[in-house]
Symmetry: C2
Subunit: 555 residues, 2 copies
């Protein structure tokens, strides 16, 4: 926590200040645009760009993460609240803040419980399918705004501004960086200027509206943005808790996933490492800060954070500077924002989400692993056909299903001795010697509830009539849980009823410690526990060995 | 399917007939009792004991499973429908049948999709906690019926019958088998007669009601049971689909889990194996049959199936005989059932669920694995405090959480060479030699979305300044999914940026086939792919080896 502050030195300051200034310039239009996506008044987007960045700086582990509103979480806010409150109403804002509060509390608690590993639980194809689907939904939702009203009632000057902004932004995206570089600008500067294109286009749109007096012509604009800092307060309306809980949890999950993937990718560039648990605390704090200051869900966005990084941010001080500048902007008269035409804002949203469309991952996956390509398609279809929240759930179920199926198929090998050595290897891959009276099975996974039955079943499956001893070689077994223990006890009983003994070999220290605490296994085991596979092999296959006789009365 | 029928021979018949008769005697009171738990008229329990057993015989893989109504699924039916329709109404019955239909369709589909492995996804402690909690909830729900009405308005003769039945059943449970054995009966006969105690007690209760004319005294009885076979029909009321879907899925899950644990435990005794996919098909068919014949969710119950097994059942023919006998019972006048007092039925339920209470598992788990004991307690508390459906969900989340946490912590070992050999082992467990310029890491798990980030992170964590080459030893890696591939690509890039090369060794055949299809990895990999760890070690540590120089300009 704040370890970066203790080691701060002057050399870092220039980069942080530059990045802070550039990011605030991006934040203003982005905040208003995402507020639009979320169905909230534009100023809510500015509020959400204020305290959260600072709150994240307290706990988060990324040096260059820029926390604020983001397209997908804004879309999820809108789709969760649709039907619960009229968009733009005070109740709607209160409920958005309350969802942010719940998400923030849950994220913070998850951080305290060290559940950072949860970030790994959507596969990339699933995440890519979800993001692409959400991008399409967002783009579609902005279409009527882009045309200045609705499909039926197009406002011509509004549509003209929207479509020209779209064209300009698209050209900038395709050519501006190369153009600027060919004009002699340094790569970094060209990169940042190209990414600032939306700021210039929106400034141009404001100028158009003012000069051509387009507000009179019915062009929809942002309108009055209240100046001054947001009032602080806890958004508590527990009556809605139940309806809001599930969507808040899903939003919280996406907050973490989006932020984590941005943080990890930038940290790798800087040779740093990200701590998932600190990220959860940072994002929790950021969302709590957003909830109490009239905002909506916030997270780290890869596009904004990449600008922060490219602009020279070295530490979270850049975000603190962004916050201070945003507070200044809100404190001085905000009249200059009001003529901003909504259609131009919609154009920036559409271009931004265009970058989220990803057809490369499914293409690559199709070549590499068809199942993963299918998961991409199913998640995308889930978002488009069922809805955004449902899409997250579809993706989660797909990922968990894969995980469960994988865990339930542990690798088990029948092994034999490499002649003349004490090495034992898979009979299907090496020329090894086996004995008719002995089944040696190596289990290559921890034995736990998800695979215990399968392991026991495959012992019975491999068993041949001549065999009188089964040896489970546990060299790769790091854990046997209670279910695994019960399953071994039952396997022992089932084998015993057929006159076959169950033996164990190469039991690891920690596993043995536990087994010895359980009189269940050790008082019932019909065979022995051998230190090595070799010891088991020789003890159980020497004909004069008393341990090699079978019980007198097999059932 | 029906393979048992093709191999049928005369010797098996006596056992199947005996078991068929004994099970139908148990089924009559049990069916009515569980209908009571489910909030349905008693005859629904008889209908549910009719066709399903036969339908299961077509697809199921257990030879001795007896499929019919069961305590927990009946409780879940009641708790799902509470609030949706008044208990006992026609709508209520229709909705119960519809839930059964959904559960049946889903189970059958899961069978076709070969999802039998899903049975392994509650750990035993979680399942035990759930069952114990459900038993307590069921017992509590029967308390007022046991007292002949309600706590406020006790019907004295009804309560007297209920409490004496309870006492008799408890005594029978504790002492009857021993008593019968000491009277010289064979073990099996004594066992079965003891388990038939509820039948005798209920017959006694009917006699009491008839002889003492207790219906006049206000004792609540089963009342008229319509005779004749049920009308067949599809219970379709798609308006309710949405509300019923989730509870139906949860009931379907519990149907599968209960049946599977009964089937596996009895199959082990008979030296047979259970196929989870066939079980799903069998249970799906059984529930479809129940749905179209006016019943409610059915499953295999360990207590009834154990009686079937002990009474001599050899094949599903026993269940077919049960079905035929039940049809006969329903076709002849059913007046003899109507004076059965509900308080005595409640007593049989309470004694039956007493057997489901399990404090042995948590006791054992407490000694062996505290986390598992905690999971037991949390699931139990979930059922008691939140509700039955919620309890299943709590249990599922606990199990999945454990699974996820486990999968996200793959075993990774830094390895070195055992001096003078070509064997490489964990540096923390063997005295091995390492080289300052080389990091050898063995990954002991498939690389997939759930652990890829963690593996990449631990490479960066283990890395020391002197090292110029990282070798990932993939001898235990059976799969690398798309997410794993991307993560390796990014790890390669991150290492490359620090002037360190990423190499692979001992890549398994199927993994290599895939990697070669992905130009991503092979066109970018900064190091090499070595056949063996030994080859990597010697190539990368010989100073005159050209492969051991670092890129000229590390960033």
């Amino acid at each position: 926590m704040l370890s970066w502050l203790k080691q701060y030195h002057r050399d870092l300051l220039a980069g942080d200040v530059t990045a802070g200034i550039i990011v605030v310039l991006m934040m203003v239009p982005q905040g208003m645009a995402y507020a639009l996506v979320a169905g909230l008044p534009p100023v809510a987007g500015l509020y959400a760009s204020l305290l959260p960045a600072c709150a994240y700086a307290l706990f988060g582990s990324s040096m260059v993460q820029s926390v604020g509103p983001m397209a997908i979480t804004s879309l999820m806010t809108a789709s969760s609240l649709a039907g619960l409150a009229p968009a733009g109403s005070e109740l709607y804002s209160a409920m958005a803040a309350q969802m942010t509060l719940i998400a923030g509390v849950v994220l913070f608690l998850c951080g305290l419980l060290r559940l950072g590993f949860l970030a790994q639980f959507l596969s990339r194809p699933v995440l890519s399918g979800f993001t692409s689907g959400a991008a399409l939904v967002i783009a579609a939702s902005q279409f009527s705004t882009l045309l200045g009203g609705s499909l039926k009632q197009i406002n011509l000057p509004g549509a003209a501004i929207g479509l020209s902004s779209l064209l300009l932004l698209w050209l900038a995206r395709q050519y501006l960086m190369r153009l600027l570089k060919s004009l002699g600008l340094a790569g970094k500067v060209a990169d940042i200027l190209a990414k600032m294109a939306p700021v210039f286009v929106l400034a141009l749109a404001i100028l158009c509206v003012l000069l051509l007096n387009l507000e009179q012509a019915g062009v929809q604009v942002v309108g009055k943005v209240p100046s001054g800092l947001p009032a602080l307060g806890l958004p508590l309306a527990f009556g809605q808790m139940r309806e809001l809980l599930m969507p808040s949890l899903l939003i919280g999950f996406m907050i973490f996933l989006s932020s984590q993937s941005a943080a990890v990718s930038l940290a790798q560039k800087r040779g740093e490492r990200i701590n998932g648990n600190h990220e959860l605390l940072g994002l929790g704090a950021a969302n709590l800060a957003s909830a109490v200051s009239g905002g909506f869900p916030v997270t780290g966005s890869i596009s904004r954070s990449a600008v922060n990084y490219t602009a020279g941010a070295n530490t979270p001080l850049a975000s603190v500077i962004t916050t201070v500048l945003m507070a200044v902007l809100l404190s001085v008269p905000t009249g200059w924002m009001s003529p901003l035409p909504l259609s131009a804002l919609a154009a920036t949203i559409m271009i931004a989400v265009l970058g989220m469309l990803d057809f490369e991952t499914p293409r690559e996956a199709w070549r590499y692993d068809r199942g993963d390509a299918l998961a991409w398609g199913v998640t995308l279809a889930g978002v488009l056909l069922l809805g955004v929240e449902e899409g997250v759930i579809v993706g989660l179920l797909l990922s968990l299903g894969t995980l469960i199926a994988r865990a339930s198929r542990p690798h088990i090998a029948v092994i034999g001795r490499i002649p003349g050595t004490e090495h034992y290897r898979n009979v299907s891959r090496y020329a090894v010697e086996t004995r008719p009276e002995l089944l040696l099975l190596r289990v290559d996974a921890a034995i736990f509830f998800g695979n215990a039955e399968r392991i026991s079943d495959s012992v019975l499956e491999q068993l041949q009539d001549s065999q009188r001893d089964v040896v489970l070689v546990l060299s790769a077994v790091n854990q046997i849980d209670t279910t695994g223990l019960y399953t071994l006890v039952e396997l022992n009983r089932a084998l015993n009823a057929r006159g076959i003994r169950l033996n164990l070999a190469e039991v690891k220290g920690p596993v043995m410690d536990r087994l010895q605490r359980s009189d269940l296994l050790l008082s019932q085991l019909s065979g022995k526990v051998f230190l090595s596979t070799a010891a088991a092999f020789s003890a159980l296959t020497e004909p004069d060995n008393p341990a090699a006789t079978v019980p007198a009365n097999p059932i």
